[in-house]
Symmetry: C2
Subunit: 208 residues, 2 copies
């Protein structure tokens, strides 16, 4: 695969269970960037020196290490990859209004949607789970409406091609009309963990 944005080496520090790390991998794949993927081996119990050094503020994967610069936060990484390798296909749309809509919905996924998912997964009783599930369903309905409004004919958020919002939400959100096309995409399929793997991880994370 060719690099056309820079000759510096590219590494992505991630962990298999992270939908945020998946975003970075998908973006790099879409841009045909040659990179080394480094698995953060035991993210629940310890953090590697490389992670602590490259993301000292948040100490979280993913981190994109490009030459001597570290880029943290998954949506930031996706935008950085889009801007650093500007050859087609573009990940964000070109029109400022469409870009603003894409950033709005991606931010909505990371804020409202993930808050509901975390609340549902971490709820200690049935009532808590039901409340969180209700919030999540509301979020998904809003996202679906946003998808219908933004869609210009195609399987993805902005139209025919996989883009920023698909990368933001496609990694985890099932009940959406974008999900089937997203999961089957050749940039996504190799990195998508199985349901069984997710369940085992969730059991460890939430001590259930």
């Amino acid at each position: 695969m060719a690099q056309n944005g820079s000759n510096s080496t590219v590494k992505l520090l991630g962990t298999w269970s992270s939908p945020f790390a998946l975003r970075g991998r998908v973006a790099l794949h879409l841009k045909s960037v040659e990179y080394e993927y480094i698995e953060e081996a035991d993210v629940l119990n310890s953090k590697s020196d490389l992670l602590l050094k490259s993301n000292p503020i948040h100490k979280k994967v993913p981190v994109l290490i490009h030459g001597d610069v570290s880029i943290c936060e998954s949506l930031n990484i996706v935008q950085y990859v889009d801007e650093s390798w500007p050859s087609k296909p573009s990940i964000l749309p070109s029109d400022p209004k469409d870009r603003a809509a894409a950033r709005f919905w991606a931010h909505f996924v990371d804020g409202n949607c993930f808050e509901s998912i975390d609340a549902a997964a971490g709820a200690k009783d049935e009532a808590g789970r039901m409340t969180a599930a209700g919030s999540l369903i509301e979020c998904l309905a809003a996202l679906e409406e946003g998808f219908q409004k933004s869609n210009k004919g195609g399987d993805f958020f902005g139209g025919q091609n996989i883009g920023y919002v698909d990368i933001a939400c496609g990694a985890i959100l099932g009940p959406l009309s974008v999900i089937e096309a997203f999961s089957a995409h050749e940039a996504v399929k190799p990195y998508m963990p199985t349901v069984a793997e997710f369940i085992e991880f969730a059991k460890q994370k939430f001590n259930v």
Copy 2:
């Protein structure tokens, strides 16, 4: 003032006490965009039909209304303004690495810093206030370090010119070495509420 990105009318829906609305005003001023400022009169007790219609998801100011499109979320508005009126001065830096750093720190302000500020302001006792204040001081120290690393000689985050991170953090965060230059800037000064006005607003918001 000239519009060079679009001939559509521009309106900004805000409220005087909102540091997020201030961001939109500063960005529009920097780009010399002619716009109508609409004050959301009583944001604590009721929301206008215009606000509910233009930001149905979050129902919060600021909203930039450009022709028939509404742009929500303050950092999204700042990026939109930067991209829609691409004439100089640019708000975000041009280099993708600098842009990623700017987005990282702006996101840090909206996440970590504002969480600490809200926790401190809403704390019900001294212990809660002290904990939140400690978190805020840690955030400001991290931001100050980021400022020192990113600064290329000048009073602002990226150097000589006011930019994205300054707009993100300059509206509210006093104990930073950028604040004096930010507050005195001709794009900021007319819109910065007084300390007395902020105190009165905080009393109402947190019932103290």
